[in-house]
């Protein structure tokens, strides 16, 4: 009996995921209303619960896909995977005003470039403080401070060691998760309350998952604007990482050494 039931859960993994996530949403939105009088957005609570579940299961299974490493919850991985995520995020653009995009396009581009340099600088500076001196390792870690995709792509292109690449992925993960948690808390302080601000935010932060989840927990109307610029960040980072950033690091290392 229970074996048949388990088989059913695995066979209909995505359906189980829809139902389960629905329960998490319900609990989170009720908790937001009852315990915080709506001050902490229900989606922020739900995203936090998701991350918490991912930690608990991650330490239990030792896997890399959070709760999706449990066969019974594999559907959560499908539901939260790139395919559904991109489909839903693109759909949020329906109803976006073209004028808003056109008026803020330049700001988006500028914030992308600024954001990439800021992230690389932060990563390289921290790596230097930890005693890293090799230009390849420095650049890879700087790239990891951009996103957890820019890190390994840059590291692979430059021939970094697998330990350094793993570190760069970890740095990018820390960033994505911090942005998810910190954005709703800091949004008001930094003036993140309109489409143009959201485009700047997406461009500077760049971490797709962090930006989308952070804005979702702040103001759902801002999501498409942030997602629009953030989507260019990883690609641009992969382009600049092994080229411009590496030359810069080499140049600076050479002039100091």
């Amino acid at each position: 009996m229970s074996a048949a039931l388990l088989e059913l859960v695995e066979k209909y993994a995505l359906v189980v995921a829809f139902a389960l996530v629905g329960v998490v949403m319900l609990v989170s939105y009720q908790a937001s209303r009852l315990f915080t009088r709506g001050r902490v957005h229900g989606s922020a609570i739900a995203i936090f619960l998701g991350l918490l579940a991912a930690v608990v299961v991650g330490f239990t299974t030792g896997g890399r896909k959070g709760v999706a490493d449990l066969p019974l919850l594999a559907g959560i991985g499908t539901m939260g995977g790139a395919m559904f995520r991109d489909l839903a995020i693109v759909a949020t653009a329906y109803g976006v005003r073209i004028e808003d995009l056109r008026a803020s396009g330049v700001h988006g581009v500028v914030s992308l470039v600024v954001g990439l340099f800021v992230a690389f600088a932060a990563g390289v500076a921290v790596a230097l403080a930890f005693g890293v001196r090799d230009p390849v390792a420095l650049t890879t870690l700087g790239a990891g401070a951009a996103t957890y995709i820019v890190g390994p792509v840059t590291g692979a292109a430059l021939g970094a060691s697998s330990e350094i690449i793993a570190l760069s992925i970890a740095a990018g993960l820390v960033k994505a998760i911090l942005v998810m948690i910190a954005t709703p808390a800091l949004a008001r302080t930094i003036g993140l309350d309109n489409p143009r601000a959201a485009m700047i935010f997406g461009g500077v932060m760049g971490t797709n998952s962090g930006v989308i989840a952070g804005l979702a927990a702040t103001d759902p109307k801002l999501v498409p604007y942030g997602a629009m610029t953030a989507t260019f960040y990883t690609g641009l980072g992969c382009l600049l990482g092994p080229s411009v950033m590496f030359f810069l690091v080499q140049f600076l290392a050479g002039s100091n050494g």
Binding site: F18, V24, M25, S43, I47, F48, L49, G50, L51, A54, G62, K65, A68, L73, I76, G80, F84, D86, L87, A88, V90, A91, T92, A93, Y94, V96, H107, V110, S111, A121, A122, A127, F130, L141, G144, A170, A171, L173, V174, K175, A176, I177, L178, A182, L186, G191, L192, N194, R196, A197, I200, V204, S209, A213, A216, P220, A227, M228, T231, G235
Partner: protein
């Protein structure tokens, strides 16, 4: 038909990703450049164009809107399938690099928004 909306959305996403991939490989990198952003522009462009010509039936819209409405649950599922353990056990360097990057980025966003981020009214 509602599904026309979903089909258009799917078409725009795939076309956007393909274009992003082509741009990426033109620069010799394996990641796509702006695929989702291009898909968003395609969706905005095609729906605007279709409705101007009177070819976008109101019944199609829910086929797009439903997906836009469920992105929060999808993001929750995404959060639950992140490698959060990897972020926590990545060591001091990874933790410090991530924190420094986010702190600096928030400072930068605050500055840029104060300078440029007001709605043009």
């Amino acid at each position: 038909m509602v599904f026309y909306g979903t089909a258009l959305l799917a078409g725009c996403l795939f076309a956007g990703l393909a274009i992003g991939q082509i741009i990426g490989s033109a620069f010799g990198i394996e990641s796509d450049i702006g695929g989702v952003g291009i898909a968003m522009l395609l969706l905005i462009g095609t729906t605007t164009w279709l409705s101007r010509r009177g070819r976008w039936a109101p019944t199609c819209a829910p086929g797009v809107q439903y997906w836009g409405d469920i992105y929060i649950p999808i993001v929750v599922a995404m959060a639950a399938s992140q490698n959060v353990r990897g972020a926590l056990v990545g060591g001091g360097l990874a933790l410090a690099a991530g924190i420094a990057s986010v702190a600096l980025a928030f400072g930068t966003v605050a500055l840029l928004i104060r300078r440029f981020g007001r709605e043009a009214s």
